[in-house]
């Protein structure tokens, strides 16, 4: 196995299959509405890929990825909301020109920290920078004090709860429970039309591949191998002279950046952002996407996000009152029978057989490669 190369042949094939699925198959077989739905699912894949790095490779289980997803999404939503809140559109308000929910909460001028979001470049920068800064603060506070494992997971979960309460409580500044709604245009381009949604889908797909390539690069680099070493034997890495905390902070920030991008794409494609996407439940759901896909595999994470969300949609359409049970059953079944998720099924069951079928020689059982078995 050429582990030093950027991608092995099998991984190239895996990337190619996913690319074909996202850019060719789905757009060809799905109508506009379903394609937009898959676009939404793919925004969760950004988070799942980040989790595959943090959790699968680095052993850092974060139950608060929704916070970063939400921060990215809110940054995008703030820009779009300001663009939608022109004095003409909001003439009916007591104070025209500010977002409608501020007016309802008796604010009479825009808070200073909203001002930068009039600028698209600054907003786009914030989509990545705000989640990263937040992750950096949490990371420094936790990892330099050697907080890890379950304790770290619980603390991140607490952050998700705190963030939800903060957003709901400060409704004059954040839109509260309703979130930031009624977003219309991006630099004058109507994001609500079918055409725009299709374009956004492809932009989303391209960004996801950029993120996947970064993740692949990290995994194959020395950093990636150090992460795995830290996951399995943290003390040995520390005794070898590495500053474990710095690596953890970096990978946690990278995961947050991915999640932020996903959140911004979510806002663009769905048309609003609300605290229901920030809290504990969505954060745990994101971990489920990653677990179902196979936490060791970045491609598996994408499939996990797609499969779980697709199941969620189609089960709830067919059985509006029972679908949660079906979804729960699916999750239990995957965890019980396929502890390495879909990627595990692929690399342990399907791939060896395919190889046997095509190469007509004995399958190479020593190195199943869908998951990084270093």
């Amino acid at each position: 196995m050429q582990s030093s190369a950027f991608m092995s042949r099998k991984e190239i094939i895996g990337f190619a299959i996913l690319a074909a699925l996202i850019f060719l198959v789905l757009p060809a077989v799905l109508d506009n509405f379903r394609l937009n739905l898959f676009g939404k699912y793919l925004t969760y894949a950004f988070v799942a890929v980040g989790l595959a790095l943090c959790w699968g490779a680095g052993g850092i289980l974060s139950l608060g990825q929704g916070v970063f997803f939400g921060l990215g999404g809110y940054c995008m939503a703030m820009f779009l909301k300001l663009e939608a809140s022109t004095p003409e559109n909001t003439a009916i308000q007591s104070t025209p020109g500010i977002p409608d929910f501020m007016d309802w909460n008796q604010l009479t001028e825009l808070p200073w920290w909203w001002e930068p979001f009039y600028s698209l470049p600054l907003a786009l920068l914030a989509v990545v920078a705000v989640p990263v800064m937040f992750a950096f603060v949490i990371g420094v506070a936790m990892f330099t004090r050697r907080v890890g494992g379950v304790y770290f997971a619980i603390i991140t979960q607490a952050f998700a709860a705190i963030m939800t309460i903060l957003i709901i409580g400060q409704q004059g500044y954040t839109g509260g429970v309703n979130g930031i709604t009624d977003l219309r245009t991006l630099m004058g381009w109507d994001i609500r039309t079918d055409e725009a949604k299709t374009i956004l889908y492809f932009v989303n797909g391209a960004l996801l591949f950029a993120v996947l390539l970064i993740a692949q690069y990290v995994r194959k680099s020395k950093l990636g191998r150090l992460l795995i070493a830290m996951r399995d034997q943290e003390d040995r890495v520390r005794f070898s002279g590495y500053n474990v905390a710095n690596f953890k902070i970096f990978i946690f920030c990278l995961g947050a950046a991915f999640a932020g991008i996903g959140g911004a794409m979510f806002t663009l494609q769905v048309g609003f952002m609300s605290p229901t996407l920030v809290g504990i439940v969505p954060s745990i759901e994101m971990v489920i996407f990653c677990a179902v896909g196979g936490r060791l595999s970045i491609l598996g994470a994408v499939y996990g996000a797609l499969l779980v969300n697709w199941a969620k949609t189609s089960l709830s359409e067919s059985f509006p009152e029972l679908w949660l049970l079906g979804l729960g059953g699916l999750f239990i079944a995957v965890v019980m029978f396929f502890p390495n998720g879909l990627a595990g099924v692929w690399s342990e069951k399907i791939e060896p057989r395919l190889l046997a079928l095509f190469s007509k020689k004995k399958p190479d059982t020593s190195a199943p490669d869908g998951a990084p078995a270093e």
Binding site: N32, F33, N105, V177, G179, V270, G271, S316, W323
Partner: protein, 423 residues
């Protein structure tokens, strides 16, 4: 909807027809002559490609049947299904049976938006009965406006909205608040008010209107406190202590959901018994549905300001309660929103028949001025601003979980979603 007598008769028959399985024969006997399907060519009454066939029309039902809101929204789903069955038993709309596609919003606002888009784009439903919380309505609103859907929204809410694609069958804030405050001032001599609520847009906007009304329009009256608590909050002891200190005449409570249970129990435990009226407890957020959770004995004596109570004694309501219980079980209760949800399909039917078309643009044009003499709450009428003219009523909670109606406005109250002088 011609005149009251014949409508009641049709209603009576329809209930039996529902029980008998609603055979087409029974229904067709009572179907007004001018509304047979063959009189309306599908191509004429549906020019925009909605889900209308020669004998059916499909609508959507979009509520949460799972998640935290399911407990509140289930009543609305039941009411809408009842109305649809009754309409079908009468022969449907323009001779077409209503079929519905039910989607679950799952108490999750993005899901609401997703399902709304599915109903409008994929299923091409002619209208949608749905949503409950303001957040879910805000989430679907752009979808309805973009795809020109038509939504009947049942919940009493904060106002400040008037979409061409929504008919608001619940009351907006002023309809629920002003008459109740005047009543408590005039009949009980209340002068000082303590406002409190859950912390989100509806209680805040409602209390804003209440405060403006108390301070600007009610002589010598004042607000002695105003406080908000997060959704799901269960510790009200500190506010109850403040209430005892400031001794308001009225506790004006807009606490929602599970917090209600804690609030009324703690109020009682602290020795503030609503039946003694010192202070008076007045709420706009507790319907019969919520009392089931709170317990009648805990809230007994409090007043609620609504437009509908299950105990209303008029012919329409007696028939409605009976049909509802026959369909959904004897021990069910019917709250304000459930009744408002029941109006949705009927208002849509009346608008479609007036327009002679299912096209959303024509139904919208036909909607203002639509009257419903068979509404359980009495007579209602659709205003130009897409809200309903309806009466405001005050009820007093009883130990058995029902309200005794103690006051109702003489006239219908005009809906005013953007009230001047209250902003």
């Amino acid at each position: 909807m011609s005149n009251e007598n014949s409508d009641n008769k049709v209603n009576g028959v329809s209930r039996r027809a529902v029980l008998a399985g609603g055979t087409a024969l029974t229904a067709s006997l009572f179907m007004p002559k001018n509304l047979r399907a063959q009189d309306f060519a599908t191509a004429d009454i549906n020019t925009t490609g909605l889900a209308v066939t020669d004998d059916t029309v499909t609508i959507g039902i979009l509520h949460s049947v799972t998640g935290t809101m399911a407990i509140s929204e289930t009543g609305s789903v039941q009411a809408e299904k009842l109305a649809i069955e009754q309409i079908n038993a009468q022969g449907g709309i323009l001779g077409r049976k209503i079929e519905y596609i039910q989607e679950d919003g799952a108490s999750d606002w993005p899901t609401f938006a997703e399902k709304a888009r599915k109903l409008l784009v994929n299923d091409k439903v002619a209208s949608v009965m749905g949503c409950w919380t303001s957040a879910s309505r805000k989430a679907v609103l752009p979808v309805f406006e973009q795809h020109n859907g038509f939504l009947y929204y049942p919940t009493f809410y904060e106002g400040l909205e008037q979409s061409p694609n929504v008919i608001y069958t619940g009351q907006e804030a002023t309809q629920q608040i002003i008459a109740g405050l005047d009543w408590v001032n005039q009949t009980k001599g209340a002068k000082s008010f303590y406002l409190l609520g859950s912390d989100y847009i509806w209680p805040r906007t409602s209390n804003k209107i209440a405060r403006k009304h108390i301070e600007n329009f009610m002589e010598d009256c004042k607000v002695v406190g105003e406080e908000y608590y997060p959704l799901g909050h269960t510790q009200f002891n500190s506010v109850i202590n403040k209430i005892r200190l400031r001794k308001p005449d009225v506790i004006y409570a807009i606490v929602v959901g599970g917090s209600n249970v804690a609030f009324y129990k703690q109020l009682k435990a602290a020795g503030i018994d609503p039946t003694e009226e010192g202070p008076i407890v007045l709420t706009i957020s507790v319907t019969e549905d919520e009392i089931r959770g709170i317990g009648g004995e805990n809230i007994e004596g409090s007043y609620a300001c609504m437009k509908y109570f299950q105990s209303l004694e008029n012919e329409n309501n007696i028939a409605f309660v009976k049909a509802f219980k026959e369909m959904w079980g004897e021990d069910i209760v019917i709250g304000d929103v459930t009744q408002a949800a029941y109006l949705g399909p009927w208002l849509w039917k009346a608008a479609v028949e007036k327009a002679g078309s299912f096209d959303v643009d024509k139904v919208r044009e036909a909607s203002p001025g639509i009257e419903l003499t068979t509404a359980p709450e009495g007579y209602v009428k659709v205003h130009e601003n897409h809200h309903l003219w309806s009466k405001t009523r005050v009820g007093r909670a009883q130990a058995d979980g029902q309200y005794e109606v103690v006051f109702e406005t003489a006239e219908l109250v005009e809906p005013d979603p953007f009230p001047e002088g209250y902003q």
